[in-house]
Symmetry: C2
Subunit: 351 residues, 2 copies
């Protein structure tokens, strides 16, 4: 197959982990006889510095001419005091909205070799295997009016039925392909938007008789993610709740440095990026853990290109290097053989 991939390294450790992912993808192309074309482009703080905007026109064009987007990470103290339109994360928000990437998909899976670094007791974190499906282009993030002055402020949480239906369907499909359990998280005892959300879930479930649905309040979900995370298979929720719960979930298994994410739309086009941030404190030191970036590349192969065995071969290789006790020098990994980012990449490619 021939595919074009837009690569947006971004800030901090973004460039080094993206480079690692690209190397792995190149070795996949060789082994499986695919041709990948690369379009490198700027995003985030790096783009502000070079083009004066966190999402330059050139970058949008490069993405439009590609089959999928691979992103590193954005942000850093250097740009913290910039005006809103010139902040790195605005690049992320804009690219999601521009490409209508409405479904953020984040698998959280316990890695046996890393359970020791989980803040949870091992018997609770063990065997956690869930996917959070977060609505990504609606709700409080984009609703109008949205403004503040010296004396008051307003943000607006709006959802249309269509926006809710498409994300709920996405989650039902995902549940169907997994263990058939869906937890729909809302705050229906307080929010009108949650009442519509709950209604839509109730309607759509008729089309998925094989999926068992549970409605859960967001405050209960925040507790249950800690007390009994294994109870979750697929969790679906609106944008702001999803932001909070998916970050909460990302630390429970001790494998934050391993977590990939996808932000996709219905036609298969998507943006893939590690869940971890840009970690400016360790940037450029050859000690960032590139696992999440590699696993994001694997997700891209599977979800956007339909390359299942190619994706699995990356996933298996990363797991087996970790199981051999290798890890990089940052906090998030934890084997006993500390190696550099580059060496880690080589090991994965060897596998």
């Amino acid at each position: 197959m021939e595919k074009t991939i837009a690569v947006l390294p971004g800030d901090g450790i973004g460039p080094e982990v993206t480079e690692a992912a690209v190397k792995v993808l190149k070795s996949i192309a060789m082994r499986y006889g695919h041709t990948f074309h690369w379009k490198f482009a700027a995003i985030g703080g790096a783009a502000v510095d070079e083009f004066g905007s966190p999402l330059p026109k050139e970058t949008v064009e490069a993405c439009e001419a590609s089959d999928a987007i691979l992103l590193g990470a954005v942000g850093g103290p250097k740009w913290d005091n910039n005006p809103a339109e010139q902040r790195p994360e605005k690049g992320l928000l804009n690219i999601r909205k521009h490409f209508d990437l409405f479904a953020n998909v984040r698998p959280v899976k316990a890695v046996p070799a890393l359970l020791g670094s989980s803040p949870l007791k091992e018997e609770i974190a063990r065997e956690v295997d869930m996917v959070i499906v977060r609505e990504l282009t609606g709700g409080l993030y984009f609703g109008e009016p949205k403004r503040h002055n010296e004396n008051s402020a307003v943000d607006t949480l709006v959802y249309t039925r269509t926006e809710i239906e498409r994300i709920v369907d996405q989650a039902f499909e995902m549940a169907r392909s997994r263990r058939g359990k869906l937890a729909s998280v809302d705050k229906a005892n307080v929010l009108e938007s949650s009442k519509l959300w709950r209604k839509v879930v109730e309607e759509r479930k008729a089309g998925y008789p094989d999926v068992e649905v549970e409605h859960m309040l967001v405050d209960s979900a925040a507790m249950k993610l800690i007390t009994n995370p294994r109870a979750f298979d697929v969790l679906v929720t609106e944008n702001m709740f999803g932001d909070i719960l998916s970050d909460e979930a990302s630390v429970i298994t001790g494998s934050l440095g391993m977590l990939p994410s996808a932000s996709i739309r219905s036609d298969g086009f998507g943006l893939y990026e590690p869940v971890h941030g840009s970690a400016p404190d360790i940037a450029g030191q050859n000690k960032a853990n590139p696992s999440a970036a590699m696993l994001s590349a694997a997700m891209m192969l599977r979800q956007s290109f339909g390359m299942d065995s190619e994706a699995s071969s990356i996933e298996d290789a990363v797991m087996s290097v970790l199981e051999d006790g290798y890890c990089t020098g940052d906090l998030s990994a934890c084997g006993n053989k500390v190696i550099s980012t580059e060496r880690f990449v080589e090991k994965v490619i060897e596998e």
Copy 2:
């Protein structure tokens, strides 16, 4: 001193834990020579059944004629399909709004005897000692427009400067009386209301040079509550974020059955209630843990009546009964000597 206390037992285990708290307060009155007058009134599902409303006029009047309110818990499956205005939790929302109880204060403190039941590793949960200060009468809970129809839904997150100032001041005062650290949690990279919030915190901090302030994004806070909860002293945030984060925090030390809360306004009037819910499954079986209700009564003595040593004597008694290994039959407590709710109360009073 002479004080009038409104007692609203509510639903599920509410009546039995409230009865326990009242017994303890009566023994305090005897020992310290105070006179407490009691006004019992209905709230929640019990009030819907008896009066057709979750917050009847009679109850509001009883509270208006009192110096503080002691509440059990509200809610249960029996009322789950009621129309919005006749649901138990509407009683809670209405009483908060009616009495302008804008500050919800929730201490979370690790109890050594209960660390075994924490989902977190003991070295992480140990010595956690924080207070969450949640804004309780503004934001998405009450903002207008707030409605939905078949095709769309809207909720509105509004805050005025005055609403933010008073809750932020409350939190600064609390931080000053503790370890002098304040984490203000918002989503200033996305929400306009958070930008105003952050501005107000920055302005008010000049008045509290002894308090060290940190701004934290809500998604980071959701992670840090799990990975490093000891880092928090006082955490202040808006209504919806506070709902999620305070419930998340309530499970980290394994002592949910012990947590009290206060919902207060500036003049000292307040409503005190356990953080745990109405637990309809174990109601009436004499096995509910009354600790949280007793500790809520202690909070009332201290915060609304200024009775410091009376409050401490309740707190010390509860802790020492737990340290002796006694606990009730519900999940949340965990000593090795299981006793009934009534026997637990007697032991606390003996102490």
